[in-house]
Amino acid sequence: MRACKAGRRGCSSKGRDTARLPRTLGQAEVILQLRHITKTYPGVVALDDVTIDIASNEVHALVGENGAGKSTLIKICTGAVVPDRGTITVGGREFRSMTPRRSRERGIAAIYQDFNLVGELSVAENVFLGRAIRRGIVIDRKAMAEASRAIFDQLGIPINPNELVKNLSVAYRQVVEIAKAISQNARILIMDEPSAPLTSAEVERLFALVETLKASGVTIIYVSHRLDEVVRLSDRVTVIRDGRKIDALDTRDTDINQLVRLMVGRELKETYPARTSAVSDEVVLDVRHLHGNGLRDISFTVRRGEVLGLAGLIGAGRTELAELIFGVKPMTAGTIAFKGKPVSPRSPREAIDLGIGLVPEDRKRQGVVLPMNVTSNISLAILQSLSAASVLKRRNEERLARRYCEDLSIRTPSLEQAVGNLSGGNQQKVVLAKWLAAGPELIILDEPTRGIDVGAKHEIYALINGLVESGRAVLMISSEMEELMGMADRIAVLAEGRITGIVDRAGFDQERIMHDASGAPARGIES
């Protein structure tokens, strides 16, 4: 492919290329073309001479680490950002820049991670938001509901058009966004990390939906961190790194390893780094017959030096369990023993003082205080002990922050930088630093690598290993089965508020865990 770069169209003369190229670029019409797009912000080049061809009716994946320039590229397509140089050609017409309106008229629609929906309005009203079907000045709800239903039928997903959007799950909200795009006659649909908030089953449905859309002639630009999805779903992949296009490949000629290499610019030896220490026999957390916060009869143990994985579907009660142990919500029955002593933390403060830390699910809302700087975020949980007579010892605070920035290689221009300006991976490291500073013996990680790019994920894994190697216990919640199987010593599976199975490393098996997670009867439960 690389050799063909100079003249793509002229390249179809030999061997496998003949079979491949006509399918994508040889015959297919190029529906969207970005030429020499450059965009700079003060002090940084976000996009550097990027040229991409999107063929009609293909699923084109766009991959790259956080900050590589993917979102700027999307925004240039939708007209939210105006490029410094370059042209955008849609359906044969060339533009110097797009505007949101022009982009919509040309059939481009984007579905962002945080949806653009109004919770208090019905599904149908959201689909036709700003373009309500009217009779005179009266909104014709019936017509809108019917038109929406027709779209959902076409997509093969039953959603009641009269339901309020706030009552829908994330997965269904996404479908509403897609329906909105279809109702606007979108020909090019840009999906930004569409699978990030979904469970495995929902992701499968999303894939089916993408296929349906493709069959109906829609071109899809699929932006994702999850390379397994990209490999499975896309026809072609464009890799960008540091604002430059690194390569555009036919998906069937590549694999995850090559994509990772292109994205990161270096070879990641193994996805899950090896651990050097063994699990000790000492039980740090012993939960017995715990009830409350939607959970029923939860029993399990976590030992020193152990990573206990917590698997389950969304809504199975994993986060709720973390909330009970961390004192966010009260338990109603059962016991929690921490280092052999019965405890019942009634607030996060009490849990922290016991020696428990929680890296919460929603990093930006719960994990870090975005407008505050790196130092203040790291010291936040132990400010009181950094003070004498209520007065903060600034020098100690700064020394602490500097130390953890070094230990965890948090990459920031300065300690005074607002955490909101850092990448997702570095934000998560700041959260970890906050807990390391508090010196906990049990750390609960709730989706620690969500929305973090491949390179940073690897660093987080290494940090988790460091935690257990230094004798701490880790309770790790994750929706990514592979990650759990790669990192955990044992996995406890939750379904509908109960533990349905606890599996040892030797017995890790994706199918079995999925079986347990779907609510099947319990197997192998500890007493």
């Binding site: 912000y41 002090g43 940084v44 900050g67 996060p348 849990a351 936040l380 920031t412 850092l422 508090a438």
Partner: protein, 323 residues
């Protein structure tokens, strides 16, 4: 946006400078030491109460009951001194305890029942104003013991006592925000209550503290006012909360919480003082002054929101590029 750059860096001090220069040019009586001390004395109550309002705004709340707390302190202290024949120190202590308690009740209601601060403090305001009328019967209470007037009217050398009180309170406020750990909590709670809670911060307790301090500082402002006017009146603090709010927002404390510094609030307070003083010197009517104040608040909030709405893309991109 070059013009806004010095505004952002030096905040409202630039505005203050321009304003002072304008009045100095248009009125001979403005740039005279006596008048400047006069301005300082006039803003002293504003400056004292502003510290409490700044704290409350920082944690993402608002306190509309400040004016009515001033009224309450007026009535309570006056009544105790005149009708109860109490020593001024006892009367003042009781009045301050009362305003602190009312502040605490504000915080307790807001934090424990998750009620909107705007509504809670609005109700407190109405209740206190009504109570002030009931207790005083709408008649001014006067005839205080000699010596009480020192607080509001005395001087230490050339410096009015109220100004000294204001400086002490402002310094205390600044100290709390800059140096103490719980001052840092104010910012954390204002930026993200949930992240603060999950970091072990007792969000409720922070709110109790903040509203209690707001009540206490309003109370001190009320004592100063009582001593200056020498009579306790049921209308003493009417509308005062809006002046305080204007000063604090002018001083760059965000109405959305989490951002602000006391030394900028000082600028906000002084701007209002200079504006009021200058307009009087220029013989502008009280009603035109009201129009001016309202417009100034609107401008200040507008600037605050405008700054918020501009994505700090450059800073963000630079930090990401570093990654």
């Amino acid at each position: 946006m070059k013009i806004f750059e010095p505004l952002r860096r030096y905040g409202m001090y630039v505005v203050l400078l321009f304003l002072a220069a304008f009045f100095a040019a248009t009125s001979e009586a403005f740039l005279v030491p006596a008048n400047l001390f006069n301005v300082a004395r006039q803003v002293s109550m504003l400056g004292i109460a502003a510290v409490g309002m700044a704290f409350v705004l920082l944690v993402g709340g608002i306190d509309l009951s400040i004016g009515s707390q001033i009224t309450m302190v007026n009535i309570v202290a006056a009544w105790m001194m005149v009708e109860g024949h109490q020593h001024p120190v006892v009367a003042c202590a009781a009045a301050l305890a009362a305003s602190s308690l009312v502040g605490f009740l504000n915080g307790w209601t807001i934090a424990s029942f998750r009620m909107p601060p705007l509504i809670v403090t609005l109700c407190t305001m109405t209740i206190l104003e009504g109570l002030a009328y009931i207790i005083s019967g709408g008649i001014p209470i006067f005839g205080f013991p000699r010596g009480f007037s020192v607080i509001g009217q005395g001087y230490v050398g050339p410096v009015p006592v109220p100004v000294i009180i204001m400086v002490v309170i402002l310094a205390t406020g600044s100290f709390i925000l800059e140096k103490t750990y719980f001052g840092r909590y104010f910012y954390a709670v204002g930026c993200s209550e949930e992240a603060a809670h999950l970091s072990g911060i007792n969000v409720r307790r922070v709110k109790y503290l903040v509203y209690t301090l707001s009540g206490l500082f309003a109370g001190i402002a009320g004592i100063v006012m009582l001593s200056r006017t020498n009579s306790g009146q049921a209308l003493a603090g009417k509308g005062f909360e809006l002046d305080v709010l204007t000063a604090v927002v002018l001083g760059g404390v965000s109405v959305n919480g989490g951002q602000g510094k006391i030394n900028n609030v000082v600028a906000g307070v002084l701007i209002l003082g200079v504006l009021g003083n200058g307009l009087v010197l220029l013989n502008v009517s009280q009603y035109v002054q009201m129009v001016t104040k309202g417009a100034v608040l609107l401008l200040a909030v507008g600037f605050d929101c405008y700054q918020k709405s501009r994505p700090r893309e450059a800073a963000r991109a630079a930090a990401l590029a570093y990654d």
